[in-house]
Symmetry: C2
Subunit: 358 residues, 2 copies
DNA sequence: TGTTAGCACTCAAGCTCGTCGAGTGCTAAA
DNA sequence: TTTAGCACTCGACGAGCTTGAGTGCTAACA
């Protein structure tokens, strides 16, 4: 009899309701859920005994697990997976929350990275989990201006501006013999030659070729070209933000100090964060990685929810939330979706302002 | 008899040795220290009974405390205070450590903030505690150059450079009608008028007065002047770095999750860090705040060791280490001192390179 | 045939109680 | 003044017990 239930992987409505009820409750309480609790709290019109039988089936199918024989059931990763894919009821953000997001994400300055930083801060505030965000990949952005500004004899400032409004500068030491007038000439040539190219199109050897153009031996020009390369490098190097790390202490699953330590340690590594946020799937709005689906050992009992933002349908960066697998998925998913739209809107506004071409 | 010992606050050599031994041991083990342990491990030529009597005296004088009747003694804040002021034996850094510091703190770029960031990182690596650092107060630094660079119609980049090699820029939206040639004129006037002043000498109303000079109604100039103000503001706004936060998990006093949470939470506040690092005492090389001497409730069982770095004997910033009161003071103090000297050296080198005047 | 009441069983949590040992204070002798 | 000795204290630890939430199975019922 049981084998029949197990063999057919199809879950009837009753099993689905029970599973949903269990996961909803477990997300709320973090305690193993017993059959009686479900019978009492949810109006399923079933006795605890019936629910008990169903729960046994659900366990055998792998959606639930039992910490020990005489405890209630807790969801397995597979159970959460079904829950997020099919069972959970979407919720709407409260007016308050929407207002908070709106307020936080108004762009005050021309800097894209500020927007992303704000997004991260607000995500952790709203969800109460730990949030992270990575600033856009800039390899495809276009150089709008390159300038060399004389500061004092022996010193010049190299500046690169992109169409996305990102500016980087680099103070370089140059020969005392280079006069301001000459630097302005160099500046103009660089500006003319580099404008319109994307960052990824420019590499150092190409820069070297400009030396010929300018007609001056490499030694004098070298620091300036290195400055340009450094600026480009900095623009291209995405920043990563992490917020709400101490939120995890509010969840009983991190009562164990070693677990908290592991969690915080792994998030301290920029490389790890970059990896977690390198969301390749272009088709999915909000991606969810549950427990063991995660790439790193230390967060195998966490869930990671990520979303990407894009320009012209090309993903340029992403952000996410990480917390215990017992995560308020409905809330997190709607927050992420909302903020994602907000970022996209603001980013396209910003780009529109800054691009004259497209 | 006991009262005699207590009345005279003078500690004889024997009491001092015993107190030093107890604190040394407690720093190492984090366990209450008993009389027998001291008699065995340290060659004081005294029996445990004698030491016991002395310990009772030391407790009555407030240098030691007893968690409960049948436990050993632990140092009180007052005990630590005496220890750091008079008892502890200075230690030298190992060659390895000196090399590590040297390597980490070589300046590669012209940016002062990088140096301070490195100092913080290296402090936490060497001491195994949590470290923090604040970038210099820049109010006294001198404006070396101000530039307005046309980027495209309707957009200009405002740049401010100081004698300390700090550069900030601000992309501003301007009227389409302002032509590049005019912007260059504005740039020259600004450069001429602002150079040589310190940041604190310049305020917005002064900037407004320049409008007259340039001879153009405020509406056109406003965004540019705001850009200058924003740059100055950003330069003046010190950055704060925090490293090695998860180090605290290695110390048994932070096994309690709530304590760890309180600690991490309080250090999450920029304001708190700024406060902790606002070291006013100009005479002291390395300042130590023990336990209850600290201003914030959450770190009353921590010790904070800070040091300042300066230019021309004027303190411009500071850095520090925070950890349990049971801190390896000798190690921390010598590390701080070493790094302090290193920073001072590098900073003066950097300033020397960048200042042409003084 | 599916549902439910009833019952025996399981097991972690929490309590008490006794043992152990590190440490103390006091006393008396050296 | 120092020290050996001894009675005493008290937390840590583990064994044994109780409690209660929860289960699986069986038999009766609709």
């Amino acid at each position: 009899m049981l084998t029949k239930g197990v063999q057919m992987m199809f879950l009837d409505d009753r099993k689905r309701s029970i599973l949903r009820a269990i996961i909803d409750d477990y997300i709320e309480t973090a305690e193993p859920i017993g059959s009686r609790t479900i019978a009492r709290k949810h109006e399923l019109g079933l006795s605890s005994a019936t629910i008990r039988n169903e729960m046994a089936d659900l366990e055998e199918m792998g959606f639930l697990a039992q910490p020990h024989t005489s405890a209630g059931r807790i969801p397995s990763d597979k159970g959460y997976r079904l829950y997020v894919d099919q069972l959970m009821m979407p919720i709407n953000l409260s007016d308050d929350e929407i207002e908070t997001i709106r307020e936080a994400m108004e762009i005050k300055i021309n800097e894209l990275s500020q927007l992303i930083r704000q997004a991260s801060v607000i995500m952790s505030r709203i969800t109460k989990y730990t949030s992270m965000a990575i600033t856009p990949q800039m390899r495809k952005s276009i150089i709008k201006a390159t300038q060399v500004v004389p500061i004092e004899p022996g010193k010049a400032l190299v500046i690169v501006v992109t169409n996305t409004g990102v500016v980087r500068n680099c103070l370089v030491n140059i020969s005392d013999k280079l006069l301001p007038d000459f630097l302005i000439k160099v500046s103009n040539i660089l500006n003319e030659k580099l404008s319109g190219f994307t960052l990824e199109q420019i590499n150092y050897s190409q820069l070297k070729e400009l030396e010929v153009e300018i007609g001056l031996s490499g030694e004098f020009l070298k620091p300036i070209l290195e400055g340009v390369a450094e600026c480009i490098n900095q623009i291209d190097n995405p920043e990563i933000y992490l917020d709400g790390t101490t939120n995890i202490f509010n969840y009983p699953e991190f009562r164990d100090v070693m677990k908290a330590k592991g969690f915080l340690n792994v998030l301290d590594e920029k490389e790890v964060l970059r990896d977690l946020l390198s969301n390749k799937n272009e088709n999915i709005e909000v991606d969810i990685k549950i427990g063991t689906e995660n790439p790193f050992e230390e967060i195998r009992d966490c869930s990671l929810v990520t979303a990407s933002y894009s320009v012209n349908n090309r993903i340029i960066g992403s952000f996410g939330v990480i917390g215990p697998t017992r995560m308020e998925y409905p809330k997190v998913v709607s927050s992420m979706n909302h903020i994602r739209k907000k970022i996209n809107y603001e980013i396209n506004k910003l780009m529109g302002k800054n691009i004259d071409g497209s």
